[in-house]
Symmetry: C2
Subunit: 227 residues, 2 copies
């Protein structure tokens, strides 16, 4: 079956959240290692998304959930930040820089096929990130639109339906094997895009032997899919 | 209240559906005036959308509804077309040309503010139209995403929520007073964009004295909103 459309995970796959969030911690004046704080904040995301998907917590968008997880993190460490500073940190997720290959790589892929962001981040956040990085997609899809966070199956099937393609004609591009696994379970094709610096130098090595494609940057994926 | 984001009606406001659909009728070889057939087909859209909004008809996307209304139209006139020809006519709605000011006008407005398409057309159709006309939006919003066709109030309120703005910070740009009226009832700001050729030379004159802005092209709106 031909790949007719591509959907892209955003945080970690297209944008470098760690540098941007560490910079924001640095600017906030809190004590501690800014990179370690960024990692610890990010690590709190998956459990809270799972709470939402399970029904244990009502729907919240990324701004709301980031504020909850930041408050928990600071409280656990006995640190304090004003509401204004916490709000500024939550806002830093809207201004993250893309990895160097992303802008031109997306353009190359969009010349071949329909391209869409597919993120657990809410739409207003994705709009800000796309504007900040001057990233052009055919459209932005947020799991907020159908209120089921990835890796729930409908988080991959609904985009196929909205884009008018069969799940097997849709390929998820992501740096995270758990996301790719969820997509495959829903019938999608998958491309693993390695981001060896997502967690800074010395990030744990990742691979996904089950993926249809494994590449180191978006241009490489464009070449593979063109041939 | 400042206008923070703009949403654009698509059919008639940004793209010239009449010429494209008349050309498709011409190519199909059916007898009759192609422009008149295009008008008659388009006129059948509003009643069927109202049937969906009232619950009298289950949800259908534009491809599905266009096929129903085309079949009704042909049958009423005792005309026949193969399934393949009917499907080609339905597909013509995916390949309509934008009005001449649209591509550059959208770019100018997108430099000022968040811009999104807001159409009753389904997302896959909007993607095709944006690709066909090389139109760049920050995102595409289809009422398909929340299954309430304009002019239902939620068709205007949900976009505000998704874009993270208050209804009064969102402006609908449209050529159709009924659409603008629906938006105002939902608390949005409105801009009337005159498209005197939507129904060809001799189209009925339209105006909307209630609109916040009334303009003849998108560049004019960009100038008004910049000042």
């Amino acid at each position: 079956m031909t790949v007719r459309a591509l959907v892209f995970d955003v945080f970690g796959t297209l944008v470098d959240w760690r540098s941007g969030i560490a910079d924001a911690f640095r600017a906030s004046g809190v004590s501690g290692d800014p990179e370690e704080l960024a990692d610890a904040w990010r690590a709190r995301l998956w459990p809270i998304l799972a709470e939402v998907n399970s029904g244990a917590r009502p729907w919240g968008n990324f701004d709301e959930l980031h504020l909850v997880t930041l408050t928990d993190l600071l409280s656990e460490r006995g640190m304090d930040l004003s509401a204004q500073e916490r709000s500024r940190l939550v806002g830093a997720w809207h201004q993250l820089n893309p990895w160097p290959d992303v802008r031109a790589g997306l353009d190359a892929l969009r010349r071949q096929r329909v391209t869409a962001a597919l993120s657990n981040g809410h739409l207003a956040l994705l709009v800000d990130l796309a504007r900040h990085g001057d990233l052009r997609f055919d459209c932005l899809l947020s799991t907020e639109m159908w209120r089921a966070y990835k890796p729930a199956p409908e988080a991959y099937q609904t985009p196929a339906c909205l884009l008018g393609v069969k799940p097997g004609e849709l390929m998820l591009v992501a740096a995270h094997p758990a996301d790719l696994k969820g997509a495959r379970s829903a019938g999608l094709r998958t491309a693993f895009l390695d981001r060896p610096l997502e967690y800074g130098p010395g990030s744990p090595a990742r691979e996904d032997p089950q993926a249809d494609e494994s590449v180191g940057q978006l241009h490489e994926l464009a070449e593979r899919l063109a041939s």
